[in-house]
Point group: C2
Chain length 259, copies 2
Amino acid sequence: MKTEKDKVDAIKNGEKHFLHHLSIDCVLFGYHEHQLKVLLLQWKHSGKWSLPGGFIKLDETLEESAKRILKERTGLDDIFLQQFQSFGDPKRSHRSKQDIETLAIVSGSLIDETHWILKRTVSIGYYAVTEYSKVTPRPDPLSEICEWWDIDELPQLVFDHNIIVTEALKALRLQIYHQPIGYNLLPEKFTLPEIHALYETILGKELDRRNFAKKLISLGIIKKLDEMRSIGAHRSPFLYKFDKRKYDKALKEGIALAF
Amino acid sequence: MKTEKDKVDAIKNGEKHFLHHLSIDCVLFGYHEHQLKVLLLQWKHSGKWSLPGGFIKLDETLEESAKRILKERTGLDDIFLQQFQSFGDPKRSHRSKQDIETLAIVSGSLIDETHWILKRTVSIGYYAVTEYSKVTPRPDPLSEICEWWDIDELPQLVFDHNIIVTEALKALRLQIYHQPIGYNLLPEKFTLPEIHALYETILGKELDRRNFAKKLISLGIIKKLDEMRSIGAHRSPFLYKFDKRKYDKALKEGIALAF
DNA sequence: TCAAAAGTGTTCAATGTACACCCATGC
DNA sequence: GCATGGGTGTACATTGAACACTTTTGA
């Protein structure tokens, strides 16, 4: 785990450790009880909101880099992670004078317009999905706050980050029709209403309970167990689990869902 | 249009004009009479084959960069172009000693291991599709030959370019189910057999003529004209054209094809 | 008149969609 | 016993898939 000192050091000396002109931005979708949220950071001083992001170390793959960034913000290791698009408009990452001052103050370093971190940066977008009740968001050294925002009520974000979120959501919703999801999002054993709510939330629309269950079961990626979950003052739902074999096969070969 | 001198100059002085650590690789699919090909370049001296690619100028967008690269190799301007994935394995772009010598010879420049062009490079992959009978491939200054290769008979390519081709084809085939294609690939007026062959070729499988036509027409993206094309010693097929309004709508909103 | 390519419609199967009532549980 | 949420099946509509014969054209 990185210490704050390491991170500040990265701004000062990152020139030697990171790829210039490139960054990773992560759209982390948090799912919980029919709500879809996005993890955002609020920058110190300027108060602007941004996606969690970072730079790529000289010797790590893009995916390792995205995983590292997410782990630093969430502590989570096994996250459903997908590269979806790169953003490279020459003007996308313009920083204001105030931002530059903030970077200088936070890092205790001399930062002028020629600093590597201020050069034109192409950002590789990754999205990820997690159960947000499991996460304790941690700000990075440049940020005061790291917290979840409702997908429908995002503030204005820095750079082109609003566009990145929109594109990530589009990509996620497209992907969900071709690959199963849920493996890292649901407990090992889950109920039909749980996975149903997950799909409804991500797709942002209602899905008929019966038809939904029929399809997942007929695809064979989930199977019913002989156990039930006690949910208090209501009928106990059956538990299901993923058929890992068929789930992985569907991940690799794709499926055709049409909800 | 760039002269050879400009290109060689780019290797010598590109440090100032291009983004380091980043490149664009283009998988240009060429379609003609039921054959799908890919445009490849053969490097001077080493004889290795690669995708057309290049670096990103400081002030151009990623898409402009990809368009520029394709225009230099094909002369074509209006090409169906899609960003599909970025490739960033730290070892993906390792160059052999021989390659480095070749670069030095061709550019008449001193190139050692510290040269910017040899640094770790993340490549942003674009694919494009064109009618290859319209194209006269032009080698770049580093290459002897620029020519079409059958998609099923590709040679071993440099770096991870075989993987890039495979991923591009996967992305193209996925996209074709969600967005119409053909606008820049077919003449303004075309016949059903023509667009049918286009889809069959890209998808690499046979599609029932009647069902295929039924679907495209029922989606409304093509419409029948009162004209026919004379094709010699056979029955004259009707001409169709795209309904641009519905075509663009389908491009934006997506469609669900299931051939 | 023949060869080659294009036009066309129907039937059957599978899938998707819409829909409502009963059951279990804890308070 | 009641409120709440979960379980379940059927009928209908739509879509997909399979399939063959006739027409046009120029040689």
